[in-house]
Symmetry: C2
Subunit: 402 residues, 2 copies
């Protein structure tokens, strides 16, 4: 016997997926429309407009890919890379390696520029390496969810723009929680997701494409077979599903059939974007994330726990908390979930034994959650006999708020 | 100013996306869970079980891809094809050409076996061609949405199973409306979607993988970079996002991180599958589709309209209606939408001028919709001065029901 969906209520303080905004969830249960119904295509056009606002790129080609965040990363890299193209990837955390993984699958020539995961790069270092390597593309991560670090980009972007190099940036962990100034920073393709600071469930990826990247991608357009008059292209993109040259047409005012748009996810995305760019407003959303970040940091430090990595380059949406000596990391997360219905995250690779990650994203980034997770974490650590300060964490956070 | 989602109520009688079941929509607005929350992963395991029931393949590896139907087609073909592999594609409609498009992108060697779109192949013809070509893979469509034709498969499957050839079948337009006997028919990978007879919104693809196909795909497994100890593979699949070797692990009891599962789509899929395999029950669902198909056909014929293609090999989920002489196809669809809030579909390529397609799928496949679409189509054709029988269509359908 399979039972109807009836899941526990959770306080989700991970770096995604976070709690979806209830207004978004309600919108997602709206009745389905046909994908070419004018009442539906007008929503897609509005999403394009809102994405341009959200990415601070008023003239870009914007669209959503029907897949999770990494589908947008793959779509962007597959569109830009032809076999043998050199791609420079500065890596200061786990998700740079995902970019490398995708570049490998695209047949690109990978140049990895690595450092430890405690901080980011000086922009001058990256520019030096670009000069030395002369890549076609620089692909990197804006905010690294694995360690909470955030890379400055504007000088790198300016250099790329001036020198005919394409800059592709993973903004998944920062979009919606920090301002992404795509035009100002010189990013050719910025990619984000829905399940983090936008508080829309996972399942769509957001892609914003500069004028020159668009022109390049269009040069690879191949109309798919079975739709009448053929239009073949020797330089076709290696995926049909994630073919940005087709997706840009599909999202235009004169679409050619491609996939069947994920109608109800579109309802959710439209709603999440509207709440972000208009109802609460971007500036206030960023202030809220910053305030809650400050309260979380104050609470964690008051407890006597360390925070991992360079604080100068930390982002406000993920807090990497050092695991105290003698404490079993997964035990803490299990008790938090089982007793407090609170979810926090581990990390990736070797860092999984060093830090927990507390997310501060979207609808989950609110006072009640901050105070609850601090109280629950303190109680759990005390229960396990950790050597921490009792009774300080929530007080410190309250002081930030009041 | 962007306004909240407030869309018209439609009667959707296209071959997808169709009206989502309200029970599914309600489930989709359930609060988000973390992707590794045991309360969530248990739902994924139940989905696997329900997919095995739905595909009549109790020992298969089943999973959902976070993308629309064609993402599953691409995942299956990318997993099975290595560059230069020969793929035979018998084509009797538009979606065989989509398979060819994907095979081309995978670097496969395409052998197209074409016929006109009025019927299907004799299985013996296909087997002869397989013998002559010796392909590694046969890829074909079970039910072709463009023309409403449905291909018999069991002899082709038996031959493939006996001769070490993999059979990959697009069941998108039939799954949930007709029984798919995957094991009995010898299908190695069957692919379906959510937005047709399952009445779940678009956005996921369902994939069911035989034991031998699973073993082949596993031989290409490459663990992605950034997750600790590397596991490289020279024969890696060309997509990371749609890598079935990784997705099978992600859907296992011991998952390795991949994408962030589309939680709320999973709620919808779980609910749609439960309604299909358990609440209404597969046999009754198929009977309902057959009954409503009979009523639609009776009504269309009573109106004096023709039905396209071989009726012997027609499927019950899409009815290709001949457009009467002198009637502008799009004009009829526009009036249906604007005045009656009824959506029917055109077709693809040259067939777009020859037929309309009336879908009979999932939650949309119900008596009230059948009677409404027949009445609305008759009224619209009369309004435009078409030479049809007045007052007969709904009566003929009523006779089928009573």
């Amino acid at each position: 016997m399979f039972k109807e969906i009836n899941v526990p209520n959770r306080t989700i303080m991970t770096p995604g997926p976070v709690e979806a905004n209830p207004v978004v969830l309600r919108a997602m249960s709206t009745g389905t429309l046909g994908q070419f119904d004018p009442a539906f295509t007008s929503l897609m056009q509005e999403i394009k407009e809102m994405l341009r606002i959200a990415f601070n790129a008023p003239n870009n080609e914007c669209l959503a890919v029907d897949g999770t965040s990494r589908s947008g990363l793959e779509a962007a890299l597959f569109a830009m890379i032809e076999p043998g193209d050199k791609v420079l990837i500065p890596a200061y955390g786990r998700f740079a390696y995902l970019l490398a993984e995708i570049v490998e699958r695209a047949g690109g020539d990978i140049v990895l520029m690595e450092r430890d995961w405690t901080g980011t790069f000086e922009q001058a270092e990256i520019i030096e390496r670009i000069k030395a390597e002369q890549p076609k593309i620089v692909a990197m991560v804006h905010g690294e969810t694995a360690n909470g670090q955030c890379q400055q980009l504007e000088e790198v972007g300016a250099y790329c723009q001036a020198n005919g190099i394409y800059l592709v940036v993973d903004c998944v962990a920062t979009f919606g929680g920090m301002d992404i100034k795509q035009d100002e920073w010189g990013i050719d393709i910025a990619i984000a997701g829905t399940q983090k600071c936008l508080s829309v469930p996972s399942g769509m990826s957001l892609v914003s494409i500069s004028h020159r990247a668009k022109a390049f991608i269009e040069s690879r357009f191949q109309k798919e077979l079975g739709l009448g008059a053929d239009q073949r292209n020797e330089r076709f993109i290696q995926s049909n599903y994630l073919d940005l040259s087709q997706l840009m047409v599909y999202w235009s005012q004169n679409p050619i059939n491609h996939h069947t748009e994920a109608t109800n996810m579109i309802y959710g995305l439209h709603t999440g974007l509207r709440l972000f760019v208009q109802e609460e407003g971007m500036e206030k959303v960023f202030q809220r994330h910053q305030l809650n970040n400050n309260a979380l940091i104050a609470g964690i430090e008051a407890m006597g726990l360390g925070i991992y990595g360079d604080r100068e380059t930390a982002m406000p949406t993920v807090i990497p908390v050092m695991i105290p000596d003698g404490i079993e990391p997964n035990k803490v997360r299990d008790i938090l979930l089982e007793e407090f219905s609170v979810e926090i995250a581990g990390s990736f690779g070797d860092l999984n034994k060093v830090i927990w990650r507390i997310g501060n994203m979207g609808y989950s980034s609110r006072k009640q959650n901050v105070l609850h997770v601090l109280g629950a974490l303190e109680a759990t650590l005390l229960y396990l006999g950790a050597d921490i300060q009792a009774g300080k964490a929530v007080q410190a956070a309250l002081k930030v708020y009041r």
